[in-house]
Structure formats: structure tokens, C-alpha cells
Symmetry: none
DNA sequence: AATGAATGAGAGTTCATTCAT
DNA sequence: GATGAATGAACTCTCATTCAT
């Protein structure tokens, strides 16, 4: 692949990606045939294989593009903000806004994570996000702004929460991203309990009472 | 369907479900053919269609079974515990333990949620879990044990967090469920911030596009 | 592959091989599609792939069968004949008779030898034939029945001649195998020259670019 | 077609033929795509169809060129040699030398002979060679230089032997053409038997004991 | 209950050929 | 003359499903 494209060619390629993303998200990747995609654009089958060497490769391209785009949105949102806690918040808000504007991509990434052929690709993208977030959590811990916790677990918790709430409230119920972000940030920062004294000190199942990762 | 099964028939059916679950989780639902399943069990194709009317129906059965099994595990764990916060914790721990013992089912549910034909089924199961959790959050709020928040959002946050951390730490990295549960419960209850005074008081209201009060 | 076949299945498989051999020989291997074969037999496409894992595999089967069959015919013809020269003759006659009865296979083998994917298979079969013939030539030389020559070259010459004359006279012109065999055996045994004294003594050494001794 | 070509055009056309011949010989005619050829030369598809009206036509050109070239080599080698036996020998030697220098063409001709669309073309070329050789055999018989045999069968025997030994020893084992020619000429002239008295007089299968073709 | 065999629509992909630029 | 793009029929092969035995 890697073809030098004319402007017209670049547009075709872009159209294919856009249309395929929509169909994959709506119908599922496997149930959507190449024929369906090219028919939808009113072009011949050969066009598809002129721009992509296979259906799998197309999905790969879509996933890579999604990750690039999300990361760019996050970094642009964070800008030069010095406070790491605030950076986390800005990252969450950017992710949710991005999620709102790219519902299809979200669905596709979710699917890709469940297919052994694409899971590694998704994993790699997730690792980048985790590393970004971890750095901020670690910094915030160092500065004493947040409780001492395992930054890796925290990073996953933040990303997982954001991801899940996006799926539930933005995609399924079409709530505005801003509102969802408020709730997410609130939960991330304060957790569930009222007051400062843990009512459940000593709870647990007899296993470690501290968070894992701290040795 | 609905067939009166002999003991031998019941075993056959169970074998089919078990084997298919493993293959679906490992290879993906669509890429796994009925032939692969029956060959793996050393039986003819007719057997499959004797017990299930279609491949889709089999997946439906698997998903319904998974939800029944998870809910049973949660309810057994909660038992008669009166404290709603403690009930939430017990539910989280039960879910993670279940997740540890049923990795394949977890993967399958994740996939099913991305396919428009199965998503409704998954949704219905998720709604049950959300309603269960919501009831407990609402009760905890009423009793003043947790901050006043939208119980629905909270329920989703709890479930989302649990789900995601299960996937990352139990499935991908094979950490023990107990450890992961400790961290999850900790995060759910206390959030991220240090101390009782919110450093970010004022955040979480409106879109907060201006930097919130930083010291 | 390797399937336990019922009698009905064995017949189907045999029909596929027979029909495909005829089409491959008439139209060429590549130009003959699987669809053409199954349509010709009035069965569904799946039937083909029930019995053969691919079109290539089918050709392989055909070629292997041809080699087995030809070799069996030769060995049966030679029987226990003690005279090696006579054994060579019997082999030639058997080959030509076989050729007469299996024109399609001959054409197919010729093609297969020109395709890099099948050439090794053909080569292997040819090696067996060469080794058989070589043994007889060597024995004949030892017994002083034929001129001292390189048995390997002779073996190839015999096989090549037989092959070629079969193609030309039996396949293209439909002459009876017996007649062709007489001529082939005659040429193989006596060569071209009249009398016993070589008119061209001295030739056959070096590149002989100058005219050799002519009267 | 028939196009007046600029020198640059003539070179392009020649390059296409050369490259295509190599790919066809290496990969097979059908499996080699036009795209592969033009990509290999770094030109666009249009170039191909500017010089040739189709892929089949290109193969036809290659085959015709091969026959022209081989015949020219033979005629140049024979020159004005008056002795017909010697002419046969010179022809064999020229053919093998040509074969050594044009392995790809040899492979291609072999293939073409097996495809019903190209077989007539190959046939026509072969007929020319047979007629040339026949004339020489007939003359040699008339002059009493060789045994009285059917000149047509002899011609085919000579050509078949030469062809086959070229394929086996020159192409597959890369032996020098001179050596192979010595063996071929020797076999053609003397056959296999030692001495002048046929040890096998009277052998045969009860069918004609004389060569076929004589009525 | 169960099997091997069969179906045939439809999948992804290729490729000779054409055409606008 | 030459290119990149496009065409679309045809290809090999898959697979959920059905059926005779």
C-alpha cells in the first residue's frame, strides 16, 4: 500500500473510511461486506482494493486514525496547564467531547478490543493513554495534591470510568458531554463517600486492606 | 426449541455451550464457524441444530446464562447485609470474583454489546445490574452514608469501573481478584483527592471552561 | 482432508476427479473454474470443497493418481521378464498403451511441469521412472547387451522419446499405440544410421565446430 | 496494433517482452498479472496496452519471436553443409545451444502447448521444424546414409529427444549444451544396441514389426 | 438422536481492460 | 505517450443451514 494519491484519490480514500466507519459501527464489522461499502458509495469493488489491501487493513487504518485523533484532542485541551489534577480533568473533558463527536469510532474501538486480530492494536493505543494519565497522577501524588495511590491503577480507573460513562450517557442516551464530564470529574475526584472519615475502615475480605500496587 | 432433554442430552447441550463459549471468546463470534464447534467436540453438524435453532440463538443462550450466573453470585454475596455501602462493596467483590472465573464470558459480553443484534440483550442485563446498584446507592444517600449524588450516574460509575478494571487487571494481567477488588472499592469510596477539603471546590459545575479556583 | 467416505461419497469424489481432469485437459487448469466443474456435474459448490480442500489440491491428487497408475501399468507389463533390453521394450509399450488410454492425464502432466507450484510433484514422479529405467539400462550394459553409455542419459532419452512420440502420434494424430511403440522401440534400439560402421566416427567429441570426417 | 515506433518506443516494447517472458516463465502465464509486469518496469498500465492489445497477444508475440529466433539459429548453423546427416547433427547442436541461451522461452513454449488457445501457434512452429528435419532425413535415406525409416517419425523422434534432453539436462541441471549435444547426437545416430545384429529381431507384440507410417 | 453430505448465497479478493486527465 | 484511477465480472473459498439416511 502506501500510495501517492492525487487530491481526487485522497478524497475517495477519505470517503471510503468515513462511510465504512459508519457501517461498521451500525452493523458490526464482520456483517458489513465490502460490497455494501462500495455500493453505498456507488463505486466499483476495485476501488476499495485500490486504496486498501484488505478489509482488515481498512479497520486498522480507522483504529489508528481514531487513536491519533483522540490523543491530539486531549493534548490540545491540556495545553500548558501546570496543575496535574487540572490536567486530568481537562483530559477527561476532552475525551468526552471527542466521544460525543465520534460515536462510531467509539463503538468500533470497543468491538476491535474483542477480536484477537485487532485487540493488540487497541491495546497499544490504550497503553499510550494510560502512560499519559499515569504521569499526571504520579505528579499529582508527588505534589501532595491527591492521595498516595498506585498511579497505574488510578490511571486505568480514570480512563475506564470515562470510557464507560461516555458509552452509557453520551452514546446511548445522548446527554451533553459537558454534563457527563461534570459528573465524571466529580466522581473521580471525590469518590462516593460523604465526609472525610472512612466509614468502612477495616472493611475488606481479609485480603489486603490497602490498595494493590503499594508494597 | 424448549425440548425435554435426557441426561445425556443435557450434557451434550452443556458441552456445546462450554466449548462454543471458549471458541467465541478466543476467535471472535463471527469468525468461529459451527463446523469448528462440532468438529472440536467430535460430533456431527446435526447435533448442533438439534439443540439450538441457530448460531445466534446459541450466543443468546450463552449471554442469558452469563447474566443469570453473575446476578446469582452477586446476590449470594450480598446476602442479608443491612449496610448499603457495604452491600455495594460486596457486590463489587463478587463481580470481580465472578469475572476471574469466567473470563470467556466477559469477553463475549463485551463483543455482544457491539453487535446491533445482541446489544439489546446485553443492555437488558446491564439494566438489571444498574437497578440493583442504584437502589443501594439511593438507600445509602438517604441514610446519609454517602454524598448526595445522582444515584443513576453513581451506579453506572461503579459498574463501569468494576467492569473496566476487571478487564484490565484480571483478564489481561491475571492479577488476583481480591487485590483488584481492594483497589476498586477504595477508588469508588474515596475518589482521588487527598484530604477532606476539595482542592477543586467549584469544579464540576457548568462546563467550567475557565480554570477553576486553584490556590 | 482425508475423510472417511461412504460409497456414495467415494463415487462423488471419483466423478469430480474424472470430470475435472477432462476439463483441465481441454481448457487448461487456470481457465477452468471450480464453478464450471460443479455446474458440469449439477452439484453445489460446497460439494467440491467437501472433497478437496482447494483446486490446487485436486490437481495434486490427479497428478499423483496418474503417476501411480502409469507405474502400475509398467510394472505389470514387465512382470518377471529377465532380459533387461526386453524389459525396456515392454516398459515403452506399456507407457504408450497407458498414454493412449489417458490422453487427458498426459496433457495435464505436461502443463503441471510448467507451473512452479506443481513442477516438483511432476519431477518426483519422473525421477521414479528414470530410476526404474536406469536400472534396466545399467543391467543391459553390464550384460553386454547394449553399448556402454551413461545409463542416466539413456534413461532420459528413452523416456523423453516415448513421451514425445506419444504426444505427437497418439494424442494429436490418434495413431494406434502398438504402431507407435514399434517405431519407438526401433529408434531406441538402432538409432538412425544404416550399417554398423558409424559414418560419423569422430563426431560426438567436443563441440565439433569444424566439419567432421566426411568422405 | 502494427504501430510505427520511435526508438524509445521500440525499447519500451522490447523491455516489456523481456520482462514478461521472465515472469511468465518463472510464475506461469496465468498467475502473472499485467500489473505485476508494469510494476516491475515501473511504468503505468497504459504503457502495456499501448504496445499490446491484450495479454494474450503479448504471449503470441513472444512465441512467434521464439520460433523465429530458433529457426534462424538452426539455419545459420547448418549453412551450406551438403551432408544431410551432418545437417541433422548441426541442427541438434544449434537447438541445444539456443535452448541454453533461452531457458525462459523454452518453458513458455512448453506451457503454451498445453493451453488450447496457444497450442495451434506452437503446433505451427513445430510443423516447420518437423518439415525441415524430415527433408534432411528423407535425403539421407535416399543417399543411403541412414536406414530406411519413416522420415516423419524420425523427424519427430529427433526433435522430441532434443527437446526433452534440453529440458532435463540444460534447464534443470544446467549442464553445458555441448556435452548434452554429444550425447543426443550419439543416441540419435546409434540407438541403444551393441553390435549391428538386432538381438531383438522378431520382438514386438504381434503388431507390425516395421515402423509405423509405412503402408 | 445423530451423521455425512449437500446446498448456494455471498464473502473477500483479483485482474484484464478502459478511460479521463 | 503515459499515468493513476476505476470498472465489474469472475474467481476461489466459506459457512449457516438443511436433509436423506
Amino acid at each position: 500500500m502506501e500510495r501517492r494519491l492525487t487530491p481526487r484519490g485522497a478524497k475517495r480514500r477519505h470517503d471510503l473510511i468515513t462511510f465504512a466507519t459508519a457501517r461498521f459501527a451500525a452493523n458490526g464489522y464482520h456483517p458489513t461486506s465490502v460490497a455494501e461499502i462500495v455500493d453505498g458509495l456507488g463505486v466499483g469493488k476495485g476501488v476499495f482494493y485500490w486504496y486498501f489491501s484488505s478489509k482488515d487493513e481498512l479497520l486498522g487504518e480507522i483504529l489508528r486514525g481514531a487513536q491519533r485523533s483522540l490523543r491530539a484532542a486531549q493534548q490540545e485541551a491540556i495545553g500548558t496547564e501546570p496543575n496535574p489534577v487540572r490536567r486530568i480533568e481537562l483530559g477527561i473533558r476532552a475525551s468526552l467531547r471527542w466521544s460525543e463527536n465520534h460515536r462510531d469510532l467509539y463503538t468500533l474501538v470497543q468491538f476491535a478490543a474483542t477480536d484477537e486480530r485487532f485487540a493488540p492494536l487497541v491495546s497499544r493505543g490504550a497503553q499510550v493513554a494510560v502512560r499519559d494519565t499515569m504521569r499526571q497522577v504520579a505528579e499529582a501524588v508527588e505534589e501532595g495534591r491527591v492521595r498516595a495511590t498506585d498511579p497505574e491503577v488510578c490511571a486505568h480507573a480514570i480512563i475506564g470510568l470515562t470510557t464507560y460513562l461516555a458509552s452509557e450517557f453520551i452514546h446511548r442516551r445522548a446527554r451533553p458531554a459537558g454534563e457527563v464530564a461534570d459528573a465524571t470529574v466529580d466522581f473521580v475526584l471525590h469518590g462516593l463517600l460523604a465526609g472525610s472519615a472512612s466509614e468502612l475502615a477495616g472493611s475488606g475480605t481479609g485480603q489486603a486492606t490497602e490498595a494493590p500496587g503499594r508494597r
